[in-house]
């Protein structure tokens, strides 16, 4: 199996620069480390790839750890038996299977809850119906994230929600569950589609239209000192497509003759772009210009893309960033298409978007070469059309730099609180008899200051270039997730992990007795806990991908030796490993 794995690496590498020699650090089956071995030095050389399962062969720890790391990068966490399946099957085949699973959408959950609430199912909510209404989109998020089979799609969509940011801190969005569930569904539906569809979908999304205020954005009326709203026009360039500066394909800055970065646009460009996004308003039956009040049971208004009111659209010529002239007098939606084309085809999009996606899924500091390889996949150089998300994801996950053999001192990322807690719930079998996984997210926000679709602003929870003072900054590295890791939250999440494990049902916060609160089920680990070493070894696979340091193992082992009760031993082992830096950081 080891040679099979290396064959698969070589296969992937064959598409890249053949001179590539990686600072590899392979771990062999016995756990002994080899360092500095070039790719061509290992393997049996025939280059074939087995298509399917190796019947009857048990998987090695190495393969389990490799599968576990892949699961940790590409999903919200998988249980041991699922990791074993991936290890048996080959990751790339498993990923192709995942690509083919239809999306598990969030809106149907909202529909169900809204309908049942309207039918009076939860009497106690009648006094304060908002209590439920404002968290329905969160209930949907947790329900589907906990149970959906399209586990990669759910994780990728979540990463996309940190690139195309809308937030339930905007009160209208919080009060209209269909707005955010539909927005998220847009990300889910296009997570394995094309970036252009994502960009256009986001631009016309009613949730975004409200959030960045280009819904009901009117053409200029200079006589009355009224001009198009520039909010979305600015952020669609700065955040959702091309970024502030011209980039090389490897994500590094292009510099002018004076060594200065080259801005991609100026304020005049923003004003031109603002004209493009005039005339859009909410769709749905009985639509009208200027609508700003919504019935939360009205599914249409926040599910359908925004529509164009031509008489509100800026009619004149627009000149966009690359000098593309959008002619006067054409239909407004043609203007939108033209602007999306200009942005989508800008050479920055590949490196700008792909680098951030790598940061969310794999490592905070991808090498320029890694960014370039993924950006080339985005650009259509691996045989797929430009913007193809599957090509991008394959390039991200199966890059040699993402693989377990390439560990380095600076590799990896601090797991964001959402990922840490959801994966805890998924890996350790949080279950409910009713099948309900509804969570208001109260604990997560309280302890860790993060919740999906709840960013404080359009700039997400952290900036992609945030660099903590000290060693990381001194090495010109970044670590975005540390921006929300303060003296408050670092203790907060430690306590939250404790609650989730020792109190057994405290990870979810929901409205009792209307909804069942899921509970942890550690029985599969309690079976192992009679031998602390077995327990630690298993936890090392599922939680730290074989990267638990010997010193940490020793400390945990010493503690477990003082605990007789098997259940307590299990809980303590899981808790200590989860709160350790070894597990907080995925490296």
């Amino acid at each position: 199996m080891l040679t099979a794995r290396i064959r698969s690496i070589r296969q992937k590498l064959s598409g890249f620069n053949s001179k590539l020699v990686l600072p590899l650090k392979f771990m062999c089956v016995g756990g002994v480390l080899f360092t500095g071995i070039a790719i061509s030095g290992i393997g049996d050389g025939d280059g074939d790839i087995d298509p399917g399962i190796d019947p009857g062969e048990t998987v090695s720890d190495y393969e389990l750890n490799e599968a576990s790391r892949f699961a940790s990068q590409s999903t919200f966490g998988l249980r041991y038996e699922e990791i074993e399946k991936i290890a048996n099957k080959r990751r790339y085949l498993w990923l192709e299977e995942q690509f083919n699973i239809p999306p598990t959408l969030h809106k149907p959950i909202a529909e169900d809850l809204i309908t049942r609430q309207a039918a009076g199912e939860w009497d106690e909510f009648v006094r304060n119906p908002l209590k439920l209404r404002t968290v329905i989109h969160r209930f949907a998020w947790w329900q589907q994230t906990m149970t959906a089979e399209d586990v990669v799609r759910q994780r990728v969509a979540y990463s996309l929600s940190q690139f195309f940011v809308v937030s339930d801190r905007a009160i209208v969005l919080r009060l209209t569950p269909y707005s955010l569930t539909s927005f998220y569904d847009l990300l889910l539906e296009n997570a394995f589609g094309n970036f252009r569809d994502l960009l256009k979908g986001v631009a016309l999304s009613p949730a975004m239209g409200h959030y960045l205020s280009h819904a009901n954005n009117r053409k200029a009326n200079p006589a009355r000192n009224r001009f198009p709203d520039e909010n979305f026009a600015r952020e669609v360039m700065q955040l959702f497509s091309i970024g502030l500066y011209e980039l090389n394909i490897d994500g590094t800055l292009k510099l002018d003759a004076n060594g200065e970065p080259i801005p991609t646009y100026d304020n005049d460009d923003i004003r031109e772009m603002a004209k493009i996004f005039t005339g859009l308003t909410y769709a749905g039956e009985g639509h009208y210009w200027g609508r700003r009040y919504f019935d939360h049971t009205d599914a249409e208004v926040f599910s359908l893309p925004m529509i164009m009111y031509e008489n509100r659209h800026e009619p004149g010529e627009k000149v966009l960033i690359d000098g593309t002239v959008v002619p006067a007098g054409q239909p407004g939606m043609d203007d939108v298409e033209a602007a999306i084309d200009v942005l989508f085809n800008h050479p920055n999009v590949g490196p700008f978007f792909c680098k951030q996606l790598i940061q969310r899924l794999v490592t905070s500091n991808p090498s320029p070469e890694y960014v370039e390889r993924v950006a080339r996949a985005f650009n259509g150089e691996t045989g797929s059309p430009r913007g193809d998300m599957k090509a991008v994801l394959r390039a991200i996950f199966f890059d040699p730099e993402a693989e377990i053999g390439t560990w380095s001192q600076t590799f990896g990322r601090l797991k964001e609180p959402v990922v840490r807690m959801v994966s805890l719930a998924r890996i350790f079998n949080y279950t409910s008899d009713s099948g309900e996984y509804y969570n208001t997210g109260y604990w997560l926000e309280l302890f860790a200051k993060q919740h999906p679709l709840a960013s404080p602003s359009v700039f997400n929870f952290y900036q992609p270039d945030y660099s903590p003072v000290g060693e990381i900054l001194d090495n010109n590295m970044v670590a975005p997730e540390f921006q929300i890791t303060t003296s408050t939250t670092v203790i907060g999440i430690t306590n939250y992990i404790g609650l989730a494990i020792f109190n057994e049902n405290q990870l979810f916060h929901t409205f009792r007795p209307h909804f069942e609160v899921p509970r942890i089920d550690l029985s599969e680990y309690e079976e192992l806990a009679t031998e602390p070493d077995d327990l630690i070894k298993r936890l090392d696979i599922v939680l730290t991908q074989g990267q638990l340091s010997q010193a940490t193992k020793n400390i945990v082992k010493d503690v477990l030796d003082n605990v007789d009760d098997v259940k307590e031993r299990t809980q303590i082992a899981i808790y200590l490993i989860l709160i350790s830096p070894d597990s907080a950081v995925e490296d």
Binding site: R218, R226, N267, F459, M477, Q483, I484, I572
Partner: protein, 459 residues
């Protein structure tokens, strides 16, 4: 100078001895007033970030009829009713009269009592510029003007000519004034998490919340106690592991630092007596209350200089600016009133200066629903040390053809953030000769050797 620096570092919080030595330093030819350069006694700055870009032309408005008419014409559907405004009794130095938004009665009263000043039309700049040079694209302008992410950073870093600043001017002040506090607790305390303003090369903010005693401890669980295990000891062992990975090391440092600081902080804050002042039940007021509690504990904490950072967000009103400000400006105003009252109870109002910052001002013209990103904006500074009841800087004469207007009613700032911050930094105790370190571009707008105050609202 080096000696002086070292001296300042060590003198902080040492009371009488420090005062004596500091006076000696002054007699050695240092030119600033005593107020600006001693580090005896206690002083704190409270920075309130109105995140999103407050539309301050609807917070502080012209009240003379000719100027109000211009205001009304330019702002069209965003203009506030003249009759609703709260006029300020004192005229500006140009003889102009101004008024506040109707929701800011508390601020009006503090202003009239002489404990609050306005600083008009402040913004980020690299050098003084005019509309002509901007149109000709010859002007040196801040990077990412009108962009949230850049401008919110530049107000905190006071560096607008590049994007790679990892430090804020509050952090740089702490690097100078108290880089290695004896208590181990940073002089920079944040109520809003990680922030650029309070981050220095040596000093990072200590983050607390407005809940409970502000800092939580790592909870133990019965499963540890019943087995005779001291969880905190175990965690300290885990965090003592020499990790090979850079990110793991950083995580260890953060968790260990938080645990170490928590106990001394909580013990201190519990020593502050209950306030008679009642704080409103909203996030902003409870945050200011928590700050007042920390200030009340400053002797126990052994801190002679502090900065606090508060974020009150949600001011990016492209939509419904008039409606949102109607609910948000009173929260700001009442919170300040309550904070002042609590500080007076503690006898610390003389020692604390509270000031606002924001991403930018906003377009005077409307987008039909709200206002867009602008540049210069108006700010307020509160404290009994403040020469209050006055306006500093220059409130622009509003006009459709104002020479300051760079389009859409975006006015070029007439006061730079450097001038604004220099006044605050000098007051806190930064020596004039160290001002370049705190505000690297200060000389484009103010000479630290000058005997004049940067703006005059404090010194």
């Amino acid at each position: 100078m080096l000696n002086r620096r070292r001296f300042l570092t060590h003198s902080c919080g040492l009371g009488v001895a420090a005062a004596t030595a500091s006076t000696t330093a002054l007699t050695l030819g240092l030119t600033r007033s005593v107020a600006a350069s001693t580090t005896d006694g206690y002083k704190a700055l409270v920075c309130i970030l109105l995140a999103g870009g407050n539309d301050s032309y609807n917070m502080l408005l012209p009240y003379d009829h000719d100027q109000y008419d211009e205001y009304e014409k330019i702002r069209s559907d965003l203009a506030l009713d003249y009759g609703s405004l709260l006029p300020l009794s004192k005229l500006s130095s140009e003889g102009r009269s101004y008024a506040l938004h109707s929701g800011m009665e508390a601020v009006r009263q503090i202003y009239e009592a002489g404990d609050l000043a306005f600083v008009a039309n402040v913004g980020t700049m690299i050098e003084p510029v005019d509309a002509k040079s901007i149109r000709a694209k010859t002007a040196k302008l801040p990077i990412g003007l009108f962009s949230h992410s850049d401008q919110i950073a530049q107000w905190q870093s006071a560096i607008s000519y590049h994007r790679s600043s990892s430090y804020g001017w509050g952090g740089r002040m702490a690097d100078l004034l108290d880089p290695n506090p004896a208590t181990g607790l940073s002089m920079n305390i944040s109520l809003a998490g990680t922030n650029l303003f309070q981050t220095g090369a040596k000093v990072s903010p200590f983050t607390i919340t407005n809940r409970g005693d502000g800092a939580n401890t790592v909870w133990s669980f019965p499963e540890f106690r019943s087995n005779g295990i001291n969880l905190h000891d175990v965690i300290r062992d885990l965090l003592g592991v020499e990790e090979e990975n850079m990110l793991r090391r950083e995580y260890s440092r953060r968790l260990k630092g938080a645990m170490d600081n928590r106990d001394k902080f909580v013990n201190a804050i519990r020593s502050t007596p209950e306030f008679v002042t009642e704080f409103s039940d909203n996030n902003f007021s409870t945050t200011l209350k928590q700050i007042a509690r920390v200030i009340g504990a400053r002797r126990v904490l052994g801190q002679g200089r502090q900065t606090f950072f508060v974020q009150y967000g949600g001011w990016d009103h492209h939509f419904n600016v008039v409606g949102y400000q109607e609910s948000m400006l009173p929260i700001l105003s009442n919170g300040l009133g309550e904070f002042r009252s609590a500080l007076q109870e503690l006898g610390e109002f003389d020692n604390v200066v509270t000031f606002t910052i924001s991403d930018f001002g906003r377009t005077l013209t409307s987008n039909g629903q709200g206002s867009d990103h602008g540049w210069g904006g108006h700010h307020l500074v509160m404290g009994s040390a403040v020469n209050g009841g006055s306006m500093y800087g220059t409130y622009p004469e509003l006009s459709g053809s104002s020479p300051l207007d760079v389009g859409r009613g975006i006015y070029i700032p007439t006061t730079s953030v450097e001038q604004y911050f220099a006044e605050l930094a000098l007051w806190l105790g930064v020596a004039p000769s160290d001002l370049d370190e705190v505000l690297p571009a200060v000389r484009n707008f103010y000479s630290p050797e000058s005997r004049d105050a940067p703006l005059g609202f404090l010194v």
